[in-house]
């Protein structure tokens, strides 16, 4: 089996092997909470695993960039200061992750594993096998089709599953994915024409379900060429509640803050936590000057980063994967999520 090879495995056999994996390593998968919402948690058996889910609010970047993480603990009580790193991440499998989140990881890799390699992030990436589940159940706010964020991907995953009913169609995306199938002696057979046809049918059906609500192209032109009226930014800034929710749930947003938490004068920990470009404190300089003091400037900055050509050129894609979470999470509901802003920018130019 080569990378890019497509195979088919009986669903039952695959899940049986996944169940075996749970005994040996951490398998994180989708599970339902009491209120019916879906979250991803380490699972000990298949009993709690669900396939009945659409893209929920839970941003899976948290498994690679936790909302709060200890970078190291320090102890200065001896003559020689000691730095103690956090425990190493054990090998784990992230099962059932949707394509938009996989594409989000590709975006985050550019930041955390680009010019500077963030060792904690890298360790988590290296120790995590990504088995994604191509998304043929878009929710009402999904628009990944507009951002090359799904529903199916060409790369970024170790294995990409397509649920054909009684079988999984598997795209092998990496040597790690191939090794996993071999190591666990997955009874895989080469995908036949009928499997390919069924997969294509599902993709087309999904495309039809997903309304392309975010026409990015015009908005990208407007932003790149600075053709958006200041009054519109002003209005959007006034609407914004500065809650930071859009950045927290965004699979592409990587901003963080680092603070020291001293337990006493000589011992403590250094913490990294999510920050947001929508917070005034994020860009305030040591002098007290803040280049983006007002919400208007921060909202403008966010969408410039997401949609302007210089950033698209640098990252290779827009800073959005179309997961639609910012639509749900925005306090200014329906006004400042990316699909709403794209629409407003498009209309503003007419």
């Amino acid at each position: 089996m080569q990378d890019g090879t497509r195979v088919v495995v009986s669903k039952q056999a695959f899940l049986e092997i996944l169940s075996q994996c749970m005994k040996k390593k951490t398998v994180i998968g989708p599970t339902k909470l009491a209120d019916g919402s879906v979250t991803f948690e380490p699972l000990r058996s298949l009993r709690k695993l669900t396939f009945d889910y659409v893209n929920d609010l839970d941003p899976l970047k948290r498994f690679f960039m936790p909302q709060r993480e200890e970078l190291f603990a320090y102890d200065l009580t001896d003559d020689k200061p000691r730095l103690m790193p956090p425990p190493a991440v054990k090998p784990r499998i992230l099962f059932g992750i949707r394509s938009c989140d996989v594409q989000g990881l590709a975006h985050m890799d550019g930041f955390f594993r680009g010019a500077f390699d963030d060792t904690l992030y890298s360790a988590r990436r290296q120790n995590t096998l990504i088995i994604s589940l191509a998304c043929n159940q878009p929710n009402e706010s999904c628009f990944c089709i507009c951002c090359n964020g799904g529903p199916w991907l060409e790369s970024g995953f170790d294995l990409q599953l397509t649920d054909l009913g009684s079988e999984f169609f598997i795209d092998i995306g990496s040597p790690a994915g191939r090794s996993f199938l071999q190591e666990w002696a997955m009874p895989a057979s080469k995908a036949q024409r009928r499997h390919e046809d069924r997969r294509r049918e599902l993709m087309e059906a999904c495309d039809r379900q997903m309304l392309p609500t975010a026409y990015l192209a015009k908005a990208c032109i407007q932003i790149t060429n600075n053709r958006v009226r200041e009054e519109l930014w002003e209005e959007m800034g006034a609407e914004c509640f500065s809650c930071g929710g859009c950045t927290h749930v965004c699979p592409c947003c990587t901003c963080f803050d680092v603070v020291d938490c001293p337990q006493n004068a000589r011992q403590g920990t250094r913490i990294r936590c999510w920050d947001s470009c929508q917070y005034a404190g994020f860009t305030r300089e040591a002098s007290g000057h803040n280049p983006r003091l007002r919400a208007k400037e921060r909202v403008k900055r966010r969408f410039y980063h997401k949609l302007s050509y210089p950033y698209i050129q640098q990252d290779g894609h827009p800073g959005c994967v179309g997961c639609g979470r910012c639509i749900t999470v925005c306090e200014a509901f329906g006004l400042l999520d990316i699909s709403a802003v794209v629409k407003r920018l498009r209309r503003d130019g007419q």
Binding site: R62, R68, F241, C261, A295
Partner: protein, 654 residues
């Protein structure tokens, strides 16, 4: 809100999409508030003062010390020499047990909560008029309102969920009338914004009522109008309102038209109209307006006070206001007292209880000791220097909190309390919504939940209370709080819990559906209102007024200990009208000194047209001097709320 926990550490907070109110959103405090849970300065051990310094001790020692001090105090000066201050942030169950402890074990009538500082008039008038002090509407009514009046509140900053629904309503074209001396960020999206002189709300509300009556826009079938007119409403002509409030005649007419012609009127208000000399009169006038427009009990109509804390309503329901027991039973009524005495198996203390500010005012006199739970009084009380002096006069101060706040640092005994993430119980929100909170982790170190602390203290004081779980306490509360009756513990665990009356059906969540018929014409007295406590004069020529910005809370305990929230708004500012700034040759960013009769602070100037001429707006802040240190503690006599919204001030160059 959901918390993500790994090995006993809360890593994250996340919104809940299925929650009927938040609908998958969190405000900035919701996203970052979890940072306080593992804050390095969390109190995890009881402390007692020894030779002037607080030192860690065991719970046994701390409780024994507290009991000994309380006994000595009460033996010498009487039971009523001890005051108890409840929390508006802890659970209903902990609040209820604290009330029971104060009244039946400590036997003191002096028990109050910081609701006194923001919404005492609101709850008093609502109880007086409707029988129960609470909102008549729910947040969902914002979605259904024909028109909305927002007065004395910056909903976006102070109650993000209400602010969000309000913004959405305004964008849909629902006419929103906002009345406030300060123009807010969302004011531009509302149909009408009326920038009145601070403290003149009563004249404007009465003026609007007068126009509605004169034009015949009142709801059909309303009676009792003659009394309203006889009471002196006629004097509130649009010209009179213009002269008092500074609102042009035609704007008053326009506002009255929007409000009077609405199919249903929803009234939202904040502490901007309660912390005044006319606090109670303002709310009575709003009640009249709601009656006149037939809004009470109607879908999309009613009165919704924007209470300040997560459990303000619950703390009131649980019996922590000085004048009311559980279920808002009026403690002056013999039947109410008998019911409580029978349930608790102990006589209740006699005599009226002092309100929160009165306790501080009587410190060193009638009050010799205070037990303060979950409130940093040195930051939240008006005239902070006087409040600090009051605490100094006490023989005994015990504080129960998660952090060594400025108030706790003055204490003789400090009891370490758990945060919200470690507590189990229920909260009741501003719309009467009772919801369960479940512990994500065990209390850190040797801290304990508020419920446990009260139970341990009761035990140490010799009470023979059975050991009760939060669920059992809630069941006991149901016998004394009729509106909480018939609600199962499990039902409260659903996302969003229940709004009482305990039915999921929206129709029943709107109180007073029949009230209009029963009480129509029951208008409250129209008054001209009291004069300001402090009129500007030659020495103090400005009217200074305050407000709570997005990143601050009055007590400051949460926002100053979340590193993300704490860095959001590091500069304390004063907003100065552009024309006043020209007179003083001021520019934004310059530092000035703001003085009142109580003290002075330094502030960085923001020149703006968002505040009226001859006024200064000070956001609540703690850097370079507490904003509250400037404000008067003069009481509004009916409700006991300090008139801490506005006062006379002067501005000096530094």
């Amino acid at each position: 809100m959901l918390l993500e926990v790994n090995q006993g550490v809360v890593l994250a907070s996340a919104p809940q999409k299925s929650h009927p109110v938040s609908r998958g959103t969190l405000c900035i405090k919701g996203w970052n508030g979890h940072q306080i849970i593992h804050h390095p300065r969390r109190l995890t051990q009881p402390l007692i003062k020894n030779n002037g310094r607080l030192a860690p001790v065991s719970w046994k020692k701390a409780l024994a010390f507290a009991v000994q001090k309380i006994a000595a105090l009460q033996d010498t000066h009487g039971r009523a020499s001890l005051g108890v201050v409840g929390s508006v942030k802890t659970t209903n169950e902990a609040a209820y047990l604290l009330g029971r402890l104060a009244r039946s074990v400590l036997q003191t009538p002096h028990l109050d909560i910081p609701v006194r500082y923001d919404h005492a008039p609101s709850l008093r008038v609502l109880k007086e008029q409707s029988g129960y002090g609470c909102a008549t509407a729910a947040l969902a009514d914002i979605d259904k309102a024909g028109a909305i009046l927002v007065i004395g509140a910056d909903a976006k900053a102070q109650q993000a969920r209400a602010g969000s629904l309000l913004l959405q309503a305004a964008k849909r074209g629902v006419p929103v009338v906002e009345i406030d001396p300060r123009r807010h960020e969302h004011s531009r999206f509302f149909r009408l914004y009326l920038q009145l002189h601070p403290g003149t709300d009563l004249a404007l509300i009465n003026g609007v009522i007068r126009v509605i009556l004169a034009e015949g826009w009142q709801a059909p079938g309303i009676t009792g109008l003659a009394r309203l007119r006889e009471d002196g409403l006629e004097r509130f002509t649009p010209d009179y309102v213009e002269s008092v409030c500074g609102i042009p005649h035609d704007k008053v007419m326009e506002a009255a038209a929007v409000i009077g012609k609405a199919s249903s009127l929803l009234i939202l208000f904040g502490s901007g109209i309660t912390q005044q000399a006319n606090g109670t009169a303002n709310i009575r006038a709003l009640w009249n307006l709601a009656l006149l427009t037939g809004s009470l009990g109607r879908e999309g109509g009613g009165i919704l006070p924007l209470l300040g804390s997560n459990n303000s309503q619950g703390a009131v329901d649980s019996g922590l206001m000085s004048e009311w027991g559980p279920g808002q039973r009026d403690l002056r009524e013999p039947a109410a007292r008998r019911a409580l005495e029978s349930a608790w198996g102990a006589p209740l203390p006699t005599g009226p209880g002092l309100t929160l500010q009165e306790m501080l005012n009587h410190a060193g006199g009638a009050i010799r000791g205070l037990y303060v739970t979950g409130e940093n009084l040195l930051w939240s009380a008006p005239d902070s220097h006087a409040a600090a002096a009051a605490l100094d006069k006490l023989d005994f101060l015990m504080v129960q909190d998660c952090f060594l706040t400025e108030t706790a640092a003055q204490a003789d005994v400090v009891l370490p309390a758990a945060t919200f993430a470690e507590q189990e119980g229920t909260y009741t929100s501003l719309e009467r919504r009772i919801q369960r909170v479940r512990p994500a982790i065990a209390p850190l170190g040797n801290s304990r939940t508020d419920l446990e602390i009260t139970q341990m203290l009761a035990d140490a004081l010799g009470a023979t209370w059975p050991v009760q779980t939060p669920e059992e306490v809630f069941m006991e509360m149901q016998t004394l709080i009729p509106c909480y009756g018939g609600i199962s513990w499990n039902a409260l665990g659903q996302p969003g819990g229940l709004i009482w009356p305990a039915h999921k059906d929206d129709e029943n969540c709107r109180l007073y559906r029949k009230l209009l018929g029963e009480r129509q014409g029951a208008f409250t007295e129209v008054t001209a209102g009291a004069p300001f406590g402090e009129e500007p004069d030659d020495d103090f020529p400005f009217t200074l007024f305050t407000g709570r910005p997005l990143f601050h809370r009055r007590s400051g305990t949460l926002v100053t200990r979340s590193f993300t929230l704490d860095k959001e708004d590091p500069v304390a500012t004063v907003e100065v009208n552009t024309d006043d700034a020209k007179d003083f040759k001021l520019r934004s960013g310059w530092t000035v000194r703001i003085k009142t009769r109580r003290g002075e602070v330094r502030r960085s100037v923001v020149v703006t047209r968002d505040v009226p001429r001859h006024t200064l707006f000070l956001p609540i802040h703690h850097k370079d001097g507490l904003t509250q240190s400037l404000m008067p503690s003069t009481l509004e006599p009916e409700s006991g709320i300090p008139q801490m919204k506005l006062c006379a001030a002067k501005l000096e160059m530094v």
